[in-house]
């Protein structure tokens, strides 16, 4: 099913919140629009954000992989080159712990960053409506909806005094065109 995008740009927070409220009143669910800004706002400013994430799983997987790699390197090297020193056991546990610890932490760190990128859907190379004014401080409300509801979305966004409204066909203006 084709999805159309509409981006409303707002100069201040109050207008953006009003636009989010107007969209909800018009029957748009929270998963149908997202808020774009240049800095995070406290959670719940624009209503409950949808979407669960599994970021906390990534460091655990990374830690397990790193631990396994550390074990393999330390145990494997000592067993591959069995050099008995002073009649002591071949596998020397204390130094193995050091390498395994560093391996565990390295794995957890790398996988956390991979998790952050994955859960943030980065790198983003697809097409989506965007305006550089967002990083200047404007707040964007991006609606993704069915083509037949596009006009309704534009109408809702216009209620909150937008600076501009952009669609895939270009700027449609903040006021409806006079016939």
């Amino acid at each position: 099913m084709a999805i159309r995008e509409v981006l409303g740009l707002y100069r201040d927070l109050d207008s953006a919140v009003a636009a989010a409220d107007a969209l909800r009143e018009a029957g748009f669910s929270r998963s149908e629009f997202e808020v774009l800004s240049n800095a995070p706002y406290p959670e719940g400013t624009f209503g409950e954000e949808s979407g669960i994430h599994r970021l906390f799983v990534f460091p655990l997987i990374g830690a397990a992989c790193g631990f396994a790699a550390g074990l393999l390197i330390t145990g494997g090297t000592q067993l591959s080159f069995p050099l008995l020193t002073g009649g002591k056991p071949l596998l020397s546990i204390p130094p193995m712990i050091i390498i395994m610890y560093e391996g565990t932490m390295l794995g957890a760190l790398i996988f956390t960053v991979l998790g952050v990128l994955f859960e943030s859907r980065l790198p983003w190379i697809g097409r989506a409506l965007y305006d550089p004014r967002i990083t200047q401080g404007y707040i964007g409300i991006l609606v993704r909806t069915a083509p037949e509801r596009e006009a309704k979305a534009i109408e809702a966004l216009r209620k909150a005094n937008p600076e501009d409204i952009l669609t895939e066909n270009g700027n449609v203006g903040k006021q409806p065109a006079r016939s």
């Binding site: 774009l36 800095a39 406290p42 080159f81 130094p95 560093e102 391996g103 760190l109 952050v116 983003w124």
Partner: protein, 457 residues
């Protein structure tokens, strides 16, 4: 006390991007001055490579000298950057915002500089690299994981990788901001680094959680790294090195010198980039209070190290300790460490009016690091240059001009890299400053209006 100025979005962006677009005369002086010292550094290293380690003061049994001392010093400096950043993020301390980016960058450049030292210290680094990369597995030879010289690179590389990822993750939103405001090669660079960041709620949520998660993960690594660096010495049998207290002692020493280096950096950023609205006196006040605690903790471990050397009454330990405390030039060095590392700066930091004086904070932080460099030398050298049982030969260590140039050049290298970084990337996190503005509110308390930070817990 909140001394925050209400700043507009555009004003914050313009001011924090200023170093990227304008180069002040002071910055030029910095570039030229540091570049000149860096040229001496390159010449000294090249000279040493050409003529061999004979041009240094290294000889038996003093095979570790200025370069290894400097390695330990820079590892120490690198520690506080990420530590400060991580602790302040975890505790959601509001004054972290202008400090974290520069502290993290300092960590990375200090670590890189530190890692350079053991490599050039080999005298013929290309031969070392030839035998290490790729490792000679085909002859069934493996690194001995039982040796600290394998633990050390594994820990440092973990820390460097983690710190770099930590810094990069928190820089992505600012890369998007830079992407939208630049043209030419800068736009290409920032577009690649921004990874298509758009700033939706999910991305901000991940960014916030990433701050906590990565901080929580990097802190144990930070503690482990300097512990492991201390084991380069502590697991040997050299008197005064062979001490169980070395790991925490090195860590607290690293924090003392590193936090002081953050103060130096904050003062320089305020003067060079005119970031008075962001790096405020309240920040110096807060970090000064932290330094009193850290410095006193360091003093305790410094005394413990001496105490543990004396208490068992072992002849070889006493011999070196007597040498360190009472014989020229180490007796003077001991006094310098005490005075510069603690007895001048800490009593000064007790007074709030001094903590809120940028010049005094700058010079006391420099003093601490002079003391801490001397402390590294004091810890490492006497044990090597003194006779005790089973010592085949012993000798004084006299650093050559080449080694002195390398040490001075390392400071220029870190400074130069920091300046180059601030010409390409904003040295203060722009999005975090803007986030701080969202939380800053004015509250009516009785008849008064006071500045406050409103935060959801």
């Amino acid at each position: 006390m909140q001394e925050r100025h209400r700043l507009g979005e555009e004003e914050i962006t313009r001011e924090l991007f200023r170093p990227l677009v304008t180069t002040t005369p002071m910055m030029w002086v910095g570039f030229i001055g540091l570049g000149a010292v860096l040229a001496i550094f390159v010449f000294a290293v090249s000279w040493m490579f050409y003529w061999g380690l004979g041009v240094t003061g290294l000889q038996r049994p003093n095979m570790w000298g200025f370069m290894i001392v400097n390695f330990v010093f820079w590892i120490g400096i690198s520690h506080a950057g990420v530590m400060i950043s991580a602790i302040l993020r975890l505790t959601q301390a509001e004054w972290r915002r202008p400090v974290t980016r520069a502290a993290e960058v300092m960590t990375i450049f200090s670590l890189m500089t530190a890692m350079l030292h053991p490599v050039i210290h080999t005298g013929r680094p290309w031969r070392t690299l030839y035998w290490v990369f790729p490792y000679d597995f085909w002859r069934n030879l493996w690194p001995d994981v039982r040796g600290p010289l394998v633990w050390d690179p594994s820990a440092i590389l973990t820390y460097l990788t983690g710190s770099t990822l930590f810094l990069y993750t928190t820089m992505i939103p600012d890369m998007a901001l830079a992407r939208d405001r630049t043209t030419g090669w800068r736009r290409v660079l920032y577009t690649i680094l921004a990874l298509g960041w758009r700033g939706n709620e999910r991305q901000w949520k991940m960014q916030t959680i990433a701050g906590f998660l990565l901080s929580g993960l990097i802190l144990p690594v930070f503690v482990s790294v300097h512990s492991i660096v201390s084991w380069d010495f502590a697991v040997s049998l050299v008197p005064t090195w062979h001490a169980t207290v070395f790991a925490p002692y090195f860590v607290i020493g690293a924090i003392h010198s590193g936090v002081s280096a953050v103060v130096t950096l904050m003062a320089l950023m305020r003067w060079l980039f005119r970031f008075d609205h962001y790096i405020r006196l309240e920040h110096f006040d807060a970090i000064g209070r932290l330094l009193i605690a850290v410095g006193t903790g360091w003093l305790w471990f410094f005394l413990l190290d001496i105490f543990f050397a004396i208490y068992p009454q072992e002849a070889r330990e006493l011999e070196i300790m007597q040498f360190r405390l009472f014989q020229w030039p180490f007796n003077v060095l001991t006094a310098l460490i005490f005075i510069f590392g603690y007895f001048i700066p800490v009593p000064i930091w007790i007074f709030q009016r001094f903590r809120r004086n940028v010049k005094i904070m700058f010079w006391t932080s420099i003093l601490v690091n002079v003391g801490m460099w001397a402390e590294r030398y004091w810890l490492i050298k006497p044990g090597l240059m003194r006779k005790y049982e089973l010592t085949f030969d012993w000798n004084w260590y006299r650093p050559s001009i080449v080694e002195v140039s390398i040490v001075l050049g390392s400071f220029a290298l870190v400074g130069f890299l920091l300046l180059v970084f601030s010409k390409i990337f904003p040295p203060i996190s722009v999005w975090e400053e803007k986030e701080g503005q969202h939380f800053a509110q004015q509250l009516q308390v009785g008849k008064r209006v006071v500045n406050a930070i409103v935060r959801e817990f």
